[in-house]
Each structure stands twice: as structure tokens, then as C-alpha cells.
Amino acid sequence: MNSGLRRYGIWVIVALVGAICWGVLALARGETINAGWLLFAAIASYAIAYRFYARFTQNRVLGTDDSRATPAERLNNGRDFEPMDRRVLFGHHFAAIAGAGPLVGPVLAAQMGFLPGTIWIIVGVILAGAVQDMTTLFFSMRRDGKSLGQMAREEIGPVGGAAALIAVLSIMVILLAVLALVVVLALAESPWGSFSLAMTIPIALLMGVYMRFLRPGRVLEVSVIGVALLILAIFGGGWISESSSYAGFWTFTPNQLVFGLIVYGFVASVLPVWLLLAPRDYLSTFMKIGTIALLAVGIAIMLPPIQMPKFTEFAFNGAGPVFAGALFPFVFITIACGALSGFHSLFASGTTPKLIQKESQVRMIGYGAMLMESFVAVMAIIAATVLDPGVYFAMNANPALLGDTAQSAAQAVSSFGFQVDPQTLTGTAAAVGEESIIGRTGGAPTLAVGISQIFSSVLGGTAQAFWYHFAIMFEALFILTTVDAGTRVGRFMIQDLVGNVWQPFARTSWLPGNLIASALIVGGWGYFLYAGVNDPLGGINQLFPLFGIANQLLAAVALTVGTTILIKMGKLRYAWVTALPLAWDAAVTLTASWQKIFSTDPAIGFFAQRAAAVQSIEAGKLNDTLIALKAESIDDARQILVNTTVDGVLSILFAVMIIIVIADASRVWYGLIWGGKQPEMSEAPWEESHLDSEGKEIEREPVGAR
């Protein structure tokens, strides 16, 4: 009893702290609530989940075995297979999974109030997201680092495998388009932002040459040089935006930026990686980790009050001006990264499993890194909700609803049920060094205003404009890195696919194949980017749900593979650990798809919008539905017709693929549980480990003797 108390006493206290924080969040009836409650509710929940649920999953469900040699140990070649210190691998894995996703989704979902998003981020990561990452990592490790697609093919069957492959490719295209759209929306008409982001290209080239030829492998010194130049570029942007002769030159319309990004994406995919992609990767990783750490410190020092209410009416009536649709299912679609992100399963299978020293470390690396990402999402929601809600809606609502002036925006905001006076809007814009903040959708500018308010208040209210552009630069920089890397990944996938049919195409060094595959991928996301920027109904609110659905589709594939393997391992008793999140994920994704396809509300359903567009074009004038959606001309109607057709067909495709994967897996499950089928697994055979938990050799023997 006494030792039990000693062992669990600290956890009783953690549980109490967590319970009190959650209680305050749920019951508070004041005007505002301090962000500290939210922060500590999250931390206490993570700690308990990591200590108890993750350990249960590790020991009982997966049954990790530290006497078993990992692929890193068995196949150690000092290159891709290599036992890596768990703390170092944790850093690598976190840097790989954390991108712009956990920063954008929570900002958009904040329109429903701070509580729905917060609850989903915390509960979702504990029961679904971190479990997915950890189990995928473990199963891939047991299979010498096979990719998710390969595992789906081997454990479920060729149909499930093919669906997984198509899912990966299509999510990549949508994802890159949405991320590029966020950059365009953040930089349009902003000479400061455009200049400092453009400067990252010469900075990266300089770093690339330095690292390749002058001082190979000196990553730290070149990164210090790069970050210093980056800060200079931000100051330079401030000078440019003040200058009467250069400001105009660096001010771009959205369509000019679209064109620039498409050309840039193509060139970056074709150029050798050491010149542009690799140095940019280092730069954005350091910026990312640094800014996230700064933000955590800033929030912990300031403990700002949250201005957004717990729930807004949009959570229930589905008429939100940021994106349409009710709390269920759209909060769970909008916030993917940070709660449950299928995209992680691509990284959890492939690179990281080849570097793990000990099986039990999947808990720290898989589960732990995902908890960190979730924490980033919590900070994003704090940064968005400490803003005046009026400012939040004036920035994020569909620009067609807001009009062009501070007066019209303030009026629109009051029609949403929030108050803001026009002076506040112009004042906020002036404080961050921008012409206007009205209708700056996409999440990044909102987050940047939130971050700049927190940082500048830590420093006594100075330099807000610098911090705003610092935050914009940090987001744009690593989105562009994702665009580079994602285009490349997609290019390899296409080359691999076509290579099955026609051999020369598979050689990644073959220039024509390289050019054609790059053009296909860039053309794919470039199309959606262009359509999104020119969407008369606002691009981000149309495309973001599609992106969320695609991402959760990938999560469904990963969780289906996990459930199948658990059943094959004879762990039917514990299969609920992945099967319950799968059921939830399928329910959310299919409901969202259903509404996007069949809803008669034209704000939500793609085909309802399409029908209105068809009717307007036939009649030769806009009908009431499109006028209510703020379409302005018959050309708008034509554009709506094209966009909704493409988006609608994609929604159908995604929904059908989820159903195929789950149905194909159910066939396998039925055969295993009731059909008396013998499980066939492709696990690598057991071999004894010779490493201790710190990665040191236990038995001294000459390496050649094995």
C-alpha cells in the first residue's frame, strides 16, 4: 500500500490538476478565461495518457520485446539502417511530422469557439492520433521499415493496397494545393512578406553551395549563417514596405503569386536537391523548432486571457462564415494534424522505424512525438482565440461577405453576432505593418497576429510588425519546404507507378521522366491552387474540408492495417485500441463526405452549388442561391460549375476508397475470426538483441563472427 502510494501518488496529483483545469474550462461562466487553464489541462492529460494508456498499448497490445533485435541493429549499415539514440530520433521524428497543419486547422476551427477544437485536439491525440502513429511505427519496424502502402498490400490484399496508393497520391496533390493557397493568401498585397520570403531562395542557394563544396557536413554553422540572413531579410522587408520606389515592385496580386509558386515548385523539383531543397530543409527545421519553443515560453509567461467564447452559435447551426458545416463532423475534419493525422503514418512507416534501437522506444518516439505535435496545435488555438473575436472574424470570414472597407467588414462582423469597430481593424493592420487585415483567410495571418501580440507583449509592447512578419515568414518558409519535398515525393511516386509499365521511367535520374512527372504533380496542385485563389465563393473554405477528408482517409487506411495486424497477432481482445479510433474516423469522414456530396444546403453541398450554377447559366442570370452565396456575375457561375464538379467528384472518390479499404479488410477479419483462416504475417523473424537500452553492445564479440 505504502509503495503503491509512493508509486502512484504523483499521478494522483497530476490527475487532480488535470481534472481541476478541465472543470474550470467546462464550468466557467465569466467574460474571459485564462489560457493557462487550457495549457495545464493539456499537459496533465498528456502526462497521464503517456504514463498509462501508451504504456498499456505498448505492453499489453503490441507486446514490445527488448530482447528482440530491431532492424536498425540487425541490418545496421551506418546509412539508412542505424540504431540511433532515442532522444535524437525523437527530435528527427518530431521535426518530420510537425508542419503547417497543426497551425492552420485549429485557427479555422476556432470559429466554433475554443472548446470544441481543444477537446478534439487533446482527446483525439490520446485515443486516436498518437495510437495510430505508435502502432504504425511498431508494425513497420517489425517488417524492416516497410511503407504503409506495402503493408496494406501484404496484410490486407491488392485491392486495399491499390486504394492506399491512390489515396496517398491524391492527398498529396490536395495537400500541396491547400498549403500553397495558405502562402498565397498570406503574401498577397504584402510587399514586406513577399520580399522576405523571396530572399529565402538566394539564402538557401548560398547555404547549399557552402554545404556542398566549402564546408561539407558543417550543418550547425551554415544554419546559424542562414538564420542570421533570414532575420536580416525580415528587417529588409520592413524597409522595402516603407520605401516608395520598391514597395510597388514587391506587391503582388494573388494570381501573380500563384504563377510564381507554380514555376518555383517545378524548378525546385527538377534542380538537384543540395542546391535548394536540402538547405531550405535545415533552415525551416531550425525556424520551426525555435518559433514553437518561443511561442510556448511566450504563452507561459503572459498567460493571456482567451477572448473567444467557449462555443459560438456556428458550432450548432453550421452557418459559420469561415467554413460551413456543423460541429459534427466538420471540427474533426478541419483539425487533422494535432489530433489525428493520416499523413504521419507515411513517416512512421519508412524512415524512422529503420533507426530505432529498442522496440519499447516506439512509445517515446511514436506516441511522444505526436503528443508534442498536439501541444503545438493547442498553442495555435490559444494564439487564435486570444485575439478579439471581432478581429478574428474580420480576418477569416469569406472575403465576399466582408466587402473591401473596414466599415463594411465591421458591419459584416456584427451580422455574425460579434462587435468590432472599424478603427480596431485599421489599427491592428497598422500595428503589424500591413495595408489591411480584412479577409486575410487561410489561418496563417491570424496565427501571425496572435503570435505577434503575445511576443510583443512579452517585450513590453514593441516590435509587433517585426514579429508578425517573423511568424508569416516562419509559416511560409516551411510550407514552401513541404511544397518542394511533397512535389518531389509525388514525382517519385508517379515515376514508380509508370515505371511498372514502362521501365525507363522508373529511373529517377532520367531527365525526361523527371520533367514529365514533375510537370504532372505541379500541374495537379497548381490547378487546385489556381481554382482556389479564383474561387468566387472563397477558396480555403471549399478546399480545406476536402484536404481534411483526404487526410483522415489515410488515417483510416493506417488504422485498418493496424487492426488487421493485431487480429493476425492473436490480439483480438485488444483490437479495439485501433478499431475504435477507426470506427470514429470512418464515421466522421463518411458523414462529412455525405454532406459534401448530398447536402441540399448550397453552402455545404458541392452538388447543390453545382445545380444552382447550372440553373443560373441556363437562365442567363444569377439565381437567388448564388446571390445569397455572394457570387457576382455569370462568369462566377461558370467557375463555380467547374470547381464544384471537380471537388464533388473528388469527394465521391475519397468516400468510395474508404469504403473499399474497410470492406476489403473486413473480408480478411471475417476469414481470420470466424472462417478459421490461418494468419499469414510478413513479420521479420525473431533474432536476439545484443544492445542494451542505451544502445551499447552487451556481448563483446567480433562483428564478423555473426
Binding site: 545496421n76 549499415n77 551506418g78 546509412r79 539508412d80 542505424e82 539514440d85 532522444r87 535524437v88 527530435g91 528527427h92 518530420a96 511530422i97 510537425a98 508542419g99 503547417a100 497543419g101 497543426p102 492552420v104 498529396m172 495537400l175 491547400v178 498549403l179 554545404m211 556542398r212 563544396f213 561539407p216 557536413g217 558543417r218 550543418v219 550547425l220 544554419s223 536537391v273 543540395w274 531543397l277 536540402a278 535545415y282 487533422a336 494534424c337 493525422s341 499523413f343 504521419h344 507515411l346 513517416f347 519508412g350 524512415t351 505535435e373 513541404t482 519535398a485 511533397g486 518531389r488 515525393v489 517519385f492 529517377t508 484536404f547 487526410n551 562483428v703
Partner: protein
């Protein structure tokens, strides 16, 4: 304090790949004794090309 700083420095070197070459030399000496190893420049150029020619994916 000094020890902590040293540990942080070692961690940074490890995580950024600064000392990957030293580790490669150790593995190479153990597995291919007597054969010439890559130079520092060759090793990092090879490593970079390898990494990006077999890309994984990252989270949005």
C-alpha cells in the same frame, strides 16, 4: 552548468548530423577493415543525395 552546456552541444551535433561522418568512419572501420573510406565531402554529398532520392513524407 558546463556539463549541461556540453550535453546540449553534443545533442545538437548529433541531431543536426554534424558528427554523422565520425560515426560512419567507426562503422566502416569495423565492417570493412582495410578498405578506404569516403572522405568527409564525399560522405556528406552521398548522404544528402541518398536522403532526398528516397524521400519519405512529412506532415502538412
Amino acid at each position: 552548468m558546463k556539463e549541461h552546456l556540453r550535453a546540449i552541444w553534443e545533442y545538437l551535433k548529433e541531431i543536426s548530423g554534424e558528427n554523422a561522418y565520425d560515426r560512419y568512419l567507426a562503422v566502416h572501420a569495423a565492417t570493412h577493415p582495410g578498405k578506404p573510406a569516403m572522405t568527409r565531402g564525399e560522405f556528406y554529398r552521398w548522404r544528402q543525395d541518398e536522403k532526398y532520392n528516397n524521400p519519405g513524407a512529412r506532415c502538412p
